[in-house]
């Protein structure tokens, strides 16, 4: 792999460089993972190290570090107030198969420093994916965790939260309907 990285002495894992706007690579659509090999395992370890190294990052997606593969990590088990969650999740080839409800919530992004904004997301989703070994997994998610999954899967489709951000006044007039989005896969 030809990613810029900072090796962590003795640990074998590395903190990868995070792409930031206006880097056009963030708009790239990521490819499905086909091989669950050692290279993937090493990359996932580095991606997790990078997530933990970021300021208060709950999730991270592979394309944020210039790896255009459909891999995301989310962990909603450590929020200020506990929220329903499934713990630390490594989701490979994730697909949202069902959406329900919508609500605005505030988001920020490691790839968009110094900006947060309101984004309307589905409140409940069903998600199918593979784990890091390639086994099929399925989760019903709600609220903050559902938001996390939608934010990270957007990255895989070349979408950033700033592409979906709505006016602060939208909170008063909740009329918009969440639409399945993301750049068209090619």
């Amino acid at each position: 792999m030809s990613l810029q990285s900072t090796p962590i002495s003795g640990s074998g894992v590395a903190v990868l460089e995070i792409l930031q706007l206006p880097d056009p690579r963030l708009k790239q659509v990521s490819e499905p993972v086909a091989a669950f090999d050692d290279a993937l395992q090493r990359f996932i370890d580095d991606l997790e190290e990078t997530r933990c190294n970021g300021p208060a990052a709950v999730g991270i997606a592979a394309p944020q570090v210039g790896m255009f593969k459909r891999v995301v990590i989310i962990d909603c088990s450590n929020t200020r107030k506990p929220v329903p969650n499934h713990g630390h999740l490594i989701l490979v080839n994730p697909e949202i198969t069902h959406w329900e409800g919508f609500e605005p919530g505030r988001e920020g992004c490691l790839s968009v420093p110094d900006y947060t904004g309101n984004v309307i997301r589905a409140t409940r989703i069903r998600l199918s994916a593979q784990n890091r070994e390639g086994a099929a997994v399925e989760y019903d998610m709600q609220g903050y965790e559902a938001r996390a999954a939608q934010h990270e899967i957007d990255h895989l489709d070349g979408m950033l939260f700033v592409d979906r951000v709505v006016s602060r006044r939208t909170d008063l007039f909740r009329r918009k309907v969440y639409q399945k989005g993301g750049a068209k896969k090619t």
Binding site: A61, T79, V83, L172
Partner: protein
């Protein structure tokens, strides 16, 4: 990026094309924009813009004169001590609604100020009808107290028949 910012304020009757006219004139003067906010208030166009550039206030007034005159607008340009990339992230949202009467905002914000609440954003609007106006107030900011403590501070308003909701804003970073 320059830290030599001025605040340009424009108000007047709203009409399509004002923003385009203003920003085109500014761009023609080599002026860059920082953070800006445009709102329609009571049918009026209002905008505040952080601007920076070599053009003098007089140059700017001259460049903006056509659009300002056309729309009978009032223009202010003031020097400000300002910087970009100073965003604060709110952690609590307060929503208040109730029959419109004098003093709701004063009561809410005074109660919040007593707890050290830092208001970052405040929007209010009057909904309902002319004979039954409903005041809606949306505040977001930084509370050093818990949501429950903020709610407690606003209890007296609730008892007076105003609907008050306090919720945590958990900003997702990913």
């Amino acid at each position: 990026m320059s830290d030599d910012w001025r605040m340009l304020t424009l108000i007047g009757k709203d009409a399509p094309g004002i923003v385009a006219g203003v920003t085109t004139a500014l761009a023609g003067s080599g002026v860059i924009l920082g953070e800006t906010s445009m709102l329609r208030l009571g049918g009026n166009f209002t905008v505040m813009m952080m601007i920076a550039g070599d053009a003098s206030d007089e140059d700017l007034r001259r460049m903006l004169k056509p659009v300002v005159s056309t729309h009978a607008m009032r223009l202010h340009i003031d020097p400000i001590d300002a910087h970009l990339h100073q965003h604060l992230v709110p952690n609590v949202q307060v929503t208040v609604s109730g029959a419109d009467r004098v003093g709701i905002v004063a009561q809410v914000t005074s109660a919040l100020a007593e707890g050290g609440f830092n208001i970052l954003d405040l929007d209010s609007d009057v909904a309902g009808s002319e004979d039954k106006p409903v005041y809606i107030l949306l505040i977001s900011g930084i509370a050093s107290e818990s949501v429950e403590e903020v709610e407690e501070r606003l209890d007296s308003l609730r008892r007076s028949g105003v609907s008050v909701n306090v919720s945590a804003i958990d900003t997702y970073i990913g």
